[in-house]
């Protein structure tokens, strides 16, 4: 079966600095693919490239991004809009800032459905209620009437997840969706995302720096550093026997509940800079 998302030898630069170098990665239908690395590794650049929202200063120099076989790198805005929400959707990183503070939840949820699914006001509202129910938001009718600042961060992330699933996309980019949340809430949100994607049959590209998250939810993993993918494989394999020294260092820097006797070690500088030679 052909993958939902296939990135091949993608390279991008800003000015003279290489951001992505020959990145290849694919996400099969229904798969959760974890993209891990430290801050600045280029994880979010890949997410932005797939969504077609790279900053103006960033230029793709070579490679391709195909969504269900269609080339989407450099696709005109108007064509890209056709794919967004219904084909590819985003669960953003920070639930506190990803909702407009001046608009009610109602309006923000129904906007996408009305614009992208062509639903009427009443139908969109009904679907919003059903979605809120599905993401386990209590008293959905009352939540719909509220402004973002009136509800908690966890609730807001649930709403953003509902919005991401609203138009039944085949691929969801989850950009560190649990980073801004409490540890206790993180777990619930992860389980929710996992539940929903199974029920809706969506594939997920899960961007994170949290290896614990990867172990829980992902099928495959790509370890990234300085714009290069260092290691790729099934989560169980990579976790059991990491091949690249950087991957090993990254795992050694992550606390493990199952092996509390292990000391944490920061990623050595030599490894951090080893691969980051300029283009």
């Amino acid at each position: 079966m052909s993958p939902v998302l296939a990135i091949e030898r993608l390279s991008a630069v800003t000015g003279d600095t290489a951001l992505l170098r020959d990145v290849s990665l694919d996400v099969a239908a229904g798969e959760v693919h974890g993209l891990v690395g430290m801050s600045g590794a280029g994880k979010s650049m890949i997410a932005k490239a797939v969504l077609g929202v790279l900053p103006p200063a960033v230029r793709v120099t070579s490679g391709s991004i195909r969504f269900e076989g269609t080339e989407i790198a450099g696709l005109p805005r108007a064509r890209m809009r056709q794919l967004l929400a219904r084909g590819i959707a985003l669960i953003p990183q920070d639930p506190l800032s990803a909702l407009n503070p001046t608009r009610r939840i109602d309006a923000q949820m129904t906007d996408v459905m009305r614009a992208r699914l062509g639903l009427g006001a009443a139908a969109a509202r009904e679907r919003a209620l059903a979605l809120l129910d599905e993401v386990q938001v209590r008293e959905p009718a009352s939540v719909l009437r509220r402004y973002p600042h009136e509800i908690s961060g966890g609730q807001r992330q649930r709403i953003l997840i509902a919005i991401a699933f609203a138009c039944a996309p085949r691929l969801i980019i989850a950009d560190e969706p649990t980073t801004a949340l409490d540890v206790t809430v993180q777990k619930q949100i992860l389980r929710l995302i996992d539940d929903l994607r199974r029920r809706h049959g969506a594939a997920i590209l899960f961007v994170t720096h949290d290896l614990g998250v990867v172990a829980k939810i992902c099928d495959r993993i790509s370890v990234m550093h300085a714009g290069v993918i260092l290691e790729q494989g099934a989560v169980a394999d990579v976790m059991a026997a990491p091949q690249h020294p950087f991957t090993r260092a990254l795992f050694a820097a992550t606390p493990r509940h199952d092996r509390p006797e292990l000391d944490l070690r920061p990623v050595p500088d030599a490894l951090q800079y080893a691969v980051s030679v300029p283009r």
Binding site: V53, I88, A89, R103, A107, D111, I163
Partner: protein
């Protein structure tokens, strides 16, 4: 961490909360009185503002039914003041609202689309604001002819830059917010995003500026009336009344004082209202 949420609104009914601010309350009352005088002028004014009583010129206040006295043609001052409020209110509304719409629209376009649109609009604003506004308005009215319509047109043509500059800056700030990115990756069209995501965020700011602009419009009309470039001189506009009063200020100072005080109160009230609204609405923008 999760609950370190956005700045919270004070609780309670929004209208009651706004009325709790003394500047908004004072400004609102002044504005209310102005609107009342403007709307109910025919019923409130004890005399016809144009009726001359040549046997009763320059009477002092409280003289036989003329509460504020009469002017040099024997016209009732209070009635002229009340009818003058109508002209002031007309200019405030007719000039300030189109100014706000024009400036806001251009500011939104420049701020959201950037690039060429921004370059063109921003340079235009730079050139525009390099002219002194009062001088420009006098020249404009002299060119397109006198009258209330010309005054309104002059204010719109000159003052749109006030809105444009501020709205552009706020739109630029909004443009980088996560919820705008979220709307873009939801596949919403630029115009939809502008109208639904950005406009509600710049609206409080526009409202504050609009209030201030109304004060400016009232002053500009008074200035142009004062130099005889607005409405015809026997019509009861405050600026015209000040000009007339100036000629007899030694014999009858109240004739000039009354419209001056009315003007002062109106502009002060509008500015207080604007300041109060700014203080109340600003946290929402942060």
């Amino acid at each position: 961490m999760v609950d370190a949420a956005m700045p919270h609104h004070a609780t309670g009914e929004p209208v009651l909360r706004l009325a709790g601010n003394w500047r908004i309350l004072t400004g609102g009352v002044v504005l209310g009185l102005l609107v009342l005088a403007a709307v109910a002028a025919p019923w409130l004014a004890p005399f016809d503002p144009l009726d001359q009583e040549l046997s009763a010129q320059l009477r002092g206040p409280a003289w036989s039914g003329h509460l504020l006295g009469t002017d040099s043609l024997g016209r009732d001052l209070l009635s002229r003041l009340i009818w003058g409020a109508r002209i002031a209110a007309e200019v405030a509304v007719l000039a300030a609202i189109p100014t706000a719409i024009l400036g806001t629209a251009l500011g939104l376009l420049a701020g959201y689309f950037g690039g060429l649109a921004d370059a063109l609009i921003s340079r235009l604003v730079d050139v525009w604001t390099s002219f002194p506004p009062v001088l420009l308005s006098i020249i404009l009215v002299a060119l397109i002819g006198t009258g209330l319509t010309s005054v309104v047109v002059a204010i719109i043509v000159i003052d749109w830059t006030r809105f444009c500059r501020v709205v552009r800056a706020e739109t630029l700030k909004q443009r980088h917010m996560d919820y705008i990115d979220a709307a873009i990756v939801a596949g919403l069209k630029p115009m939809t995003i502008l109208a639904r995501e950005i406009v509600p965020n710049v609206l409080p700011l526009v409202l504050v500026l609009l209030t201030m602009e109304m004060g400016i419009a009232v002053i500009v009309e008074a200035i142009l009336s004062f130099v005889g470039l607005s409405i015809s001189t026997d019509a009861p506009s405050w600026g015209g009344m000040i000009a007339e009063g100036r000629q007899v200020v030694h014999q009858a100072p109240w004739i000039m004082a009354a419209p001056l005080l009315a003007l002062l109160a109106t502009v002060l009230g509008l500015n207080l209202l604007g300041d109060g609204l700014k203080a109340e609405l600003d946290p929402v923008l942060r």
